[in-house]
């Protein structure tokens, strides 16, 4: 084995590589005592035409509206009416019930894979409410909340997860990779962060055409390391694109903590400074803060002041997906000790503080959404689950939509497949 190594100079101290490690590993006692809880209501709300550099503080602080007692305070309080808050609560509960049901369905062998968003429901639901219904969403695989907030039928989503005969995606995509054009929801990719430049491009197109719709995109904090993230931010900055770019920082990327995406050295919102665009850092488990920040960014975009990068600070309560076992790399109790709490409980507490909610109504609502999810699951499962023989789209549909018109070589391949099936007595 040849080495290209030279001789180190002996009179200098040796260099060393820093390899990040999370605070706690399985076996460690979890202790968030030194977590500095950002004060609710303390961050100012700058005008939406502020220069990026003038709001540098906002990338290091954290916008919080709900305080420990569940009161909404400070300049970011969006002052939403109780009906709207109850709708948000209902939608978050629906997402949670939906996730629980499909996680279980995967365990029961009804599909291959599922991704929950447990603990992060506020990031999608809050944003959906702050955007206009026809603003275009470019989500990652963890924004099922957007679809649910936009009223998309649960059974339709479940059919996708089951790759069954009711799956509008015809069994082509892995579970949770929804597409819903009528809800202005872009087809989800399995490749991380590719949606980021696409969202920027869509918003550029909207600006070129003098349209009024803006675009929004989401990716995880781990995915911000991808080159596509940089591509998106450069283009967004150069053309002052009307786009809202959200990083859901749930602190984990499969087994890697956010330090492997640069989180030890600064915040993710701080990336905005490097591109001269607006950046906001938000308590992602505080749905009012999520709403307010997204509304601020969308107002900014609509007024022609360009893009905003929002970091939603949250915590991935479950495993990365059904393929994952988080107890292998982080203590199981971390989830419960996590200081920013649960977004559903926090909104419920707020509504209670307002005198607009109580435990009974909460229990009733929970039961209601669970029943709704159960009903949807029945409807979806009636159309088949993954692997149950021929309850999927016909095999030859596989050749459709590769191109707009099927070219000859694909027609030939389709015909060959059918002929071979026939010859085999299938």
């Amino acid at each position: 084995m040849t080495s290209q190594d030279g001789d180190a100079r002996r009179n200098l101290p040796p260099l060393a590589l820093h390899v990040p490690e999370p605070k706690f590993r399985p076996g460690d006692a979890v202790d968030f005592a030194d977590f500095e809880m950002p004060v609710a209501g303390a961050v100012d709300r700058p005008p939406t035409d502020s220069a990026s550099r003038d709001m540098a503080g906002h990338v290091y602080a954290m916008v919080r509206v709900l305080d420990d007692e569940g009161r909404a305070i400070g300049p970011w309080n969006p002052g939403l009416d109780p009906d709207r808050l109850r709708r948000m609560l209902r939608e978050m509960l629906t997402v949670r019930a939906f996730d629980e049901r499909l996680h279980r369905a995967q365990r029961q062998g009804k599909t291959s894979f599922y991704v929950s968003s447990t603990g992060e429901e506020a990031t999608a639901i809050g944003a959906a409410h702050a955007l206009d219904p026809d603003d275009m969403c470019f989500p990652s695989y963890r924004q099922q909340g957007l679809l649910i907030a936009r009223g998309w039928p649960l059974a339709d989503m479940m059919c996708q997860v089951f790759s069954n005969s009711g799956d509008r995606m015809k069994g082509r995509q892995m579970p949770v990779m929804y597409s819903a054009r009528a809800a202005s929801f872009f087809t989800i990719s399995g490749n991380l962060a590719t949606q980021y430049p696409q969202a920027v491009g869509w918003a550029m197109a909207s600006a070129i055409r003098g349209d009024t719709r803006i675009a929004a995109a989401w990716c995880g904090e781990g995915s911000t390391a991808e080159g596509d993230f940089h591509s998106a931010l450069i283009f967004a900055s150069v053309y002052r694109v009307p786009v809202v770019l959200t990083i859901t920082n749930n602190q984990w990327a499969i087994s890697s903590f956010s330090g492997f995406a640069g989180g030890e050295s600064t915040t993710f919102a701080a990336r905005a400074l490097g591109y001269g665009i607006a950046g906001l850092r938000v308590d992602g488990n505080d749905i009012l803060a999520v709403y307010a920040a997204t509304a601020w960014a969308s107002e900014r975009a609509r007024a022609g002041h360009g893009p905003t990068l929002i970091e939603q600070f949250t915590y991935r309560a479950e495993g990365h997906s059904t393929s994952d076992d988080p107890s292998r790399y982080r203590p199981s109790e971390e989830r419960n000790l996590w200081p920013l709490g649960d977004p559903i409980k926090r909104l419920a507490q707020h509504l209670t503080t307002l005198g607009e909610w109580d435990d009974e109504r909460h229990a009733a609502l929970e039961a209601e959404v669970v029943a709704e999810v159960r009903e949807a699951a029945r409807e979806a499962e009636a159309q088949g689950v993954l692997g149950d023989g021929f309850r999927h789209h016909p095999m030859e549909t596989m050749f459709e939509d590769v191109f707009e018109e099927m070219p000859k070589h694909l027609q030939e391949q389709r015909d060959q497949m059918l002929a071979e099936y026939k010859a085999s007595g299938l």
């Binding site: 430049p197 869509w202 550029m204 450069i234």
Partner: protein, 332 residues
Amino acid sequence: MIQAINSALDVMLGRDPMVVVMGEDVGYFGGVFRATQGLQAKHGRTRVFDTPINECGIVGVAVGMGAYGLRPVPEIQFADYIYPALDQIVSEAVRIRYRSAGEYWIPITIRSPLGGGIFGGQTHSQSPEGVFTHVTGLKTVIPSNPYDAKGLLIAAIEDNDPVLFFEPKRIYNGPFDGHYDRPVTPWSAHPAGEVPDDYYRIPLGKAAVAREGNAFTILAYGTMVHVAIAFCEENGVDAEVIDLRTLVPLDVDTITASVEKTGRCMIVHEATRTGGFGAELSATVQERCFYALEAPIERVTGWDTPYPHGLEWGYFPGPIRLREAAKRLMEA
């Protein structure tokens, strides 16, 4: 050919407000090969514009624009620089119709100059079409003359699927007979150099018989069409030269008709040999014309080396190599 491409873009920018043209240096300057010269001044800065130097972003935002409903025509300055955009092409542009079961589609045409013969060295000479012809959902077009270039580019822009439109830069300014030591002849002296000002289309997926003959069939595209024809003419070889024009979807019928007639086949391309598009052509021809073949199919291609700057004419599959291959083909 560069004017023909410019004209195609001009025509389409004029006809369809959804067409936008973008890329490194394509705006005010008009592109390093002048393909977009004058277009920004004529059609405006939001229709024809410069981009950051980020090929991933160029294609990535074009995908988003395509999803919106525009017909973006991004330029990659040299085909050698398309690799950073590969993921947005392979995993996104060409997959979106499929994965959304037709809810979204991406009508983009990626233009990029390819090929060598201009002393561009290994990073301004590559012919990476073989990387893309393996990618399903993508159409790949390589024109060989101005008339085709314009008609094919218009068809590509109007196509509702992603199209990769590779322009052989060696023939931007005139056909090339393979003799690097001879003066360049301009397109004006060539019949296909005459290009109508107006809109016209040449359908994707149709090859052309560039020269009729009976001794054997030469399958070629781009620059090599001219090298092949010149070779036949200079050596009095009665070969039939097929100009593929579109690599995917491939015009198999035109190919097989010719090979059935001649019984022998030579495949010529500038790209490296192993796994090049020539391999697919060879496999297809032997599958379809097995009983007609009288000799092994010959592949005359770039060697399996990078494209070396100073030694580029050793790499280029020129007249000597065609002659020797023809000998082997006819003697077999």
